[in-house]
């Protein structure tokens, strides 16, 4: 039972971390609850569909379908996160100003909540499909089903609690810093996802250049441990990164930074808010 709980928990925290960060990043934006819910529900449904077609996906592209599928999902999420950060760079200050003036809720209609909903959906889909397959395996095998299912439920609940913890932890950050903190978190999240996509492309045999392992920190923090998994999801921690992974990680951070710079509105003298 505990084993099942741990397996499910490990899958759920990765998606949970992303949901927590997205919730914090959209703090004070009207309609975010709806969009995040849509993302989660869409992700769960998608996970079920992916699990159902696991055979088909696995067999596609000479057996590399699963890897290519994961790489595509991750790349899509990276693009969405880039878009979000660029958008925030352009409009973040207005939102922060408005938040300060009117209190909390901002009825900003044009926020790219859809982008973040997609990110949430993709995260849930990726991690969720493994949970669905695992649960399916329990049902099919028929041994100690109830205790295994109870364990899995426990894992999901613990994962949800962890999501809440992430969210409230981030909420402790003062209003005027929250956007820059979440922008950094999102940039690191995206870089980690891009490096992971590289890993999947390598496993698929599609991207084998610069595949030498640069270092091995498994003695320090195992990727299999819950803490390792946490940092894997948060900043893309990998025990044994390849040269290509490190390059893509750095390139993604750089691209994120450059995009944010480009998107930032040209500085013009601003009157203090009180003088309006």
């Amino acid at each position: 039972m505990l084993g099942a709980a741990i397996i499910v928990f490990r899958e759920v925290i990765e998606a949970g971390l992303i949901v927590g960060i997205v919730m914090a990043a959209t703090r004070g934006v009207a309609g975010r609850g709806r969009w995040v819910s849509i993302g989660i529900i869409g992700g769960v449904l998608g996970a079920a569909v992916v699990a159902m077609f696991a055979n088909v996906i696995s067999d596609a592209f000479q057996g590399a379908g699963q890897e290519l599928f994961n790489a595509s999902v991750l790349s899509a999420a990276v693009i969405m996160l880039m878009w979000h950060n660029a958008w925030m760079a352009r409009h973040g200050r207005e939102i922060a100003d408005e938040m300060r003036r009117v209190g909390t809720a901002v009825s900003e209609g044009a926020r790219p909540l859809t982008a973040l909903a997609v990110v949430v959906g993709l995260a849930v889909l990726r991690e969720g499909s493994e949970v669905v397959l695992f649960l399916y395996g329990i049902m099919v095998s028929g041994t100690s089903v109830s205790s295994m299912l109870a364990g899995s439920a426990l894992g999901i609940v613990a994962g949800a609690a962890f999501t809440a913890l992430t969210y409230f932890g981030l909420l402790a950050i003062p209003n005027r810093h929250i956007f820059s903190v979440t922008s950094w978190l999102i940039a690191l999240l995206a870089a980690g996802m891009a490096a992971q996509a590289v890993h999947f492309l390598n496993n698929a045999g599609w991207l084998v250049a610069f595949d030498r392992t640069v270092w091995d920190t498994s003695w320090l923090l195992s990727e299999g441990s819950v803490l390792g998994r946490f940092f894997h999801a948060l900043i893309g921690y990998t025990e044994r990164p390849t040269e290509m992974q490190l390059m893509v990680y750095a390139a993604t951070l750089l691209a994120m930074f450059a995009l944010t710079r480009l998107a930032r509105p040209s500085p013009r003298p601003r009157l203090p808010a009180a003088a309006e």
């Binding site: 067999d59 057996g63 397959l133 045999g205 595949d211 750089l254």
Partner: protein, 109 residues
């Protein structure tokens, strides 16, 4: 931004490695949540393709942190796992969904 574009095009240029370089094939079968053979010898410093045949009705996840693979193999089906090039040594793997029994090791030499 330009650096990024240059990097992307460089990456794109070297992406497509000929599949014919990977001739080494190994097959591992999962039955009753156990791997057969549980010990596999592969040549070191080469890319190796492992076909994992899952004879169980339940899905399994073939996983190894050491070899950096994580792959779901649905029940009654098979999956291809590409590993290496590995330095000589022992590389444990396991089935994540049945860790108590599903264990094995790849030996690169």
């Amino acid at each position: 931004m330009r650096t990024f574009l240059v990097l992307v095009s460089t990456v794109a240029a070297i992406v497509l490695a000929p599949a014919s370089l990977r001739a080494q094939d190994v097959t591992i079968t999962i039955k009753n949540h156990r791997f057969t053979p549980a010990e596999v010898k592969v040549p070191a410093n080469k890319r190796v393709q492992i076909t994992v045949v899952n004879d169980d009705p339940t899905p399994e996840e073939f996983e190894s942190h050491e070899m950096k693979v994580e792959k779901v193999i649905p029940g009654k089906s098979k999956g291809v796992v590409r590993i290496g090039p590995l330095a000589p040594g022992r590389y444990p793997f396991f089935g994540e969904f049945n860790q108590a029994t599903a264990k094995g090791v790849v030996i690169a030499e």
